[in-house]
């Protein structure tokens, strides 16, 4: 407005005016609530317009409200300060481990209070494994999982580890044992994959617990080993010009062989008694051992206690 004269006519609609499009306090709260439950800004806007027919809010205001809320969340705390504040507030049990100068976080272990109660109720079987690609620091996330009486899975504890070394696993398992309230409540069976560091750590920290390896992982290993190591013609490059048909036939043959080996292996795995295991193992040895001693050697290692039979 200049010299008492409007420089434009009165707009027929107020849409686009900042004051008209502002969010009311109650609407701001709704934007935050919906953001928490991961609604997209456009859906939030639809919701606002649905509740208030005269609303002149634009998408920009929704974005602004979201950003303001997000920034305000962490105040001026650093990432770990914020994390620890949250853990304290929600009464988590957590332990941290720093490097020697106590400046950089190495391992972080945390468990929800309800998880701990659950762990003390159902400690019989625990399954452990780590997963990757969960955070920017590329720290593996180690998860410990149990089973309830209703055959449902519950999460016992999580640990962000800096490395998957024996030392880290031992620390994690010791923290886990610390969560158990009494000594008679020790887990009976622990199931892991064939990670040597983890296997050693379990044997050290929980010597009395039975340790079962995931048979699925072993079978997968056998299969992949078959594919890479057990070519039917060990050196196909000998005959320089390989006939295309011959090659295809070769591949088919190889496929057949892998299937055969895996079938024999399944027989070994599923043998219900020690006697039938011995028989199945002999068959497996006959079929595989003669052709590919390397595979046999690989398999022998994990079953040291059974060596007398093999």
């Amino acid at each position: 407005m200049l010299c008492g004269i409007h420089n434009h006519d009165l707009a027929p609609k107020l849409s686009g005016h900042l004051f008209a499009g502002r969010l009311k306090a109650e609407e701001k709260q709704r934007v935050i609530d919906m953001t928490k439950s991961l609604a997209k800004p456009r859906n939030i806007l639809t919701n606002l317009k649905g509740k208030n027919k005269e609303s002149l809010t634009l998408i920009k205001q929704v974005y602004n409200a979201r950003t303001r809320w997000r920034k305000g969340q962490r105040e001026d705390k650093t990432e770990l300060q914020y994390l620890i504040t949250k853990l304290e507030k929600h009464q988590y049990v957590y332990f941290t481990r720093a490097n020697s100068e106590e400046t950089t976080l190495e391992d972080l272990f945390f468990a929800h209070p309800d998880s701990i109660d659950m762990l003390n109720t159902f400690p019989t079987v625990l399954v452990m494994d780590s997963t990757y690609k969960t955070n920017t620091y590329r720290m593996p996330l180690f998860e410990i999982v149990g089973v309830t009486s209703t055959k449902m899975t519950y999460l016992v504890a999580f640990a962000f580890l800096s490395f998957e070394r024996e030392n880290n696993f031992i620390w994690t398992l010791e923290m886990l044992v610390g969560l158990l309230t009494s000594k008679r409540n020790m887990p009976k069976v622990i199931i892991t994959d064939k990670d040597p560091a983890l296997m050693k750590a379990v044997a050290k920290v929980l010597p009395k617990t039975d340790h079962v390896l995931c048979y699925f992982h072993i079978e997968k290993n056998v299969k992949s080993r078959c594919v890479t190591d057990c070519r039917v013609n060990a050196k196909p490059s000998k005959a320089k010009v390989v006939d295309k048909d011959a090659k295809e036939a070769d591949d088919d043959k190889h496929c057949e062989l892998v299937k055969k080996i895996v079938r024999a292996w399944r027989d070994v795995v599923n043998s219900p008694t020690e006697d039938s295991f011995a028989i199945a193992w002999l068959t497996f040895k006959d079929e595989v051992g003669g052709l590919f001693p390397c595979l046999l050697n690989m398999l022998r290692k994990p079953f040291c206690p059974l060596r007398s039979i093999l």
Partner: protein, 208 residues
């Protein structure tokens, strides 16, 4: 290999698939693989809260919902409402097996007893003959727990001894030592003021 795993009380878990499915579940919540530790925790917390609700619900169902099939069977008369439905399902399966083959003690193998802690075919065949119900004691406590037991707390917990000792030590110690003790106490008292830094970020895999 089953010969060996069947000796352990593994309650039906022979693979790590349940933890793998837990990973998958978690990653749905996480949505992104490049969040920081705090945002990871935010999502994990959401997931845990939903999960506990579900588990409590499953306990409630096992206690209140009666399955028609088991109601008529004398075998299950003692169990319903006290044992989880999953366990009843396992027993029922084994019962079917025993009815079809009529197991004697020798060729039963007693796998169900060893791995699940539930009565196996030979016991069930015996019970059916004598028309006896399965007793609660014959079932592993794992299947009988249909609520979460609270933690045991030491009634005599106290820190007065340590407390007094620290104060004594501060009085006696030289100034530099006092500073150190103060620093350590501050760490304990104000955990959220931590100066810990997250590990250095690794190089980006893409666009580097």
């Amino acid at each position: 290999m089953r010969a060996w795993t069947n000796k352990y009380l593994h309650l039906g878990c022979r693979t790590t698939n349940i933890v793998v499915s837990a990973h998958a579940q978690l990653k749905i919540y996480l949505r992104s693989s490049v969040g920081d530790l705090a945002s990871c925790w935010d999502e994990i917390d959401k997931m845990l809260k939903n999960q506990f609700g579900e588990i409590q619900g499953s306990f409630g169902k096992s206690i209140t919902v009666m399955v028609h099939k088991y109601k008529k069977n004398k075998l299950f008369s003692e169990l319903e409402g006290y044992v989880s439905k999953a366990a009843l399902g396992f027993i029922d399966k084994e019962f079917e097996r025993s009815r079809r083959f009529g197991f004697a003690k020798e060729d039963c193998g007693c796998v169900q007893m060893a791995t699940f802690g539930l009565p196996c075919a030979c016991i069930l065949a015996e019970k059916r003959k004598k028309k006896l119900p399965i007793l609660l004691d014959e079932i592993h406590p794992h299947w009988r727990r249909l609520s979460v037991i609270g933690q045991e707390v030491d009634a005599h917990f106290s820190v007065t001894e340590e407390w007094d000792a620290i104060q004594e030590r501060i009085k006696r110690a030289p100034y530099k030592m006092k500073l150190f003790i103060k620093y350590k106490l501050r760490e304990l008292g104000f955990p959220e003021e931590t100066m810990l830094k997250p590990p250095p970020k690794k190089v980006a895999t893409k666009g580097a």
